[in-house]
Amino acid sequence: MRAAGEIGLATHMIWERALEQAVREGEAVYYLELSEVTFVDVAGAGALAAAAGRLGDGRRLVVRRPPPTLRRVLETFWPDLPTIEVSTS
């Protein structure tokens, strides 16, 4: 999945639906391309962490090139979430 723009109050619903789909699709590794996302607020990061928390054994979300604040918020509140991987390349 590729997202663009910003994730905030106006776009939380769309973001959560997209994440819900990622959880449902059942792939072992799901890539989220976020290089064109300019901002993610704390609730948006929370939705991502919640989605990652619902993945079953052996599955993970790879978040590619997220805006820097997303990484910061994830490290602050969900530092050891095993099902989420932040990739800068």
Binding site: A43, G46, T69, F77
Partner: protein, 317 residues
Amino acid sequence: MSTAAGTAAPSTDPFLHPALFYRDEREYLDGTVPFVREGLAAGEPVAVAVPGDRLRIVRDALGADAETVRLLDMREAGRNPGRIIPGVLRAFADAQPAGRRVRIIGEPVWAGRSATEYPACVQHEALINAAFRGRTVTILCPYDAVRLPGHVLEDAHATHPTVIPAGSRPARDSEAYAPDAVVARYNEPLPLVTDAMTFPFVADSLPDARHAASDEGRRLGLTGVTLQDLALATAELTTNSVLHGGGSGVLRVWAEGGHVLCEVRDEGRMTDPLAGRRPASRDQRGGRGLLMVNLIADLVRVHTGDGGTAIRCWFPR
């Protein structure tokens, strides 16, 4: 040997929160080192979060025992008093196994704290009591009885249920204990700054408010992570106004000395004094916005009442 934890007045609340007054290094070490050693001897987890210069003398006095104590420079970890409960005290206490008392020395008020910081410091000290009610935890708070002004030492008697007078050993009940009154008294108005960048916002203009704050922050000299922090804090505070503060608000950004300040005013009233001071549980869905602001800002001041709420935060430039 007995110290604060052992001799405090009997209470049904297992939480102990004595203020320790000290006049010199000798009294400082006499009040803190046995407290740490008693904890270690009982197998209790111990943390010391005090300003760096005092941290060094405690560490030196503890010798090899210092290795088993969590040591934190309160000037860094507790720069913003609003993050001490979630980021220092509960971060340590909640990570310990149940069943043993947790001991923490926390010194959030030191002589270099500014008049702007102080209301947040004293509210923090008062709110510790509510935040830890019922917990088997002791938080010992040293106060410099020589260098701190008299009103600060008086306030310490109102924010701590027990006090250990300078040069003495046992803790006694504080007759002046009145933490709620302290929280209310230091809920001080934040005078309107008229020459700030001013941006009224509603739900549809939340992204514009954030951009306006970023642009102004950059113009005022913020860069890198701090500029991102300003944007994140602005987003969280303005979103809170839209969701909980009447649907709209006014954002202001300006510079004062070495800081860029960001303030959001709205018509809501904050009714939970611990908002933004509870660590979030991993599975909790929302409610982390104000906590994040507390964790990233150098200082957060809040004024709330019938006329609305103002939240002001400081970022170093």
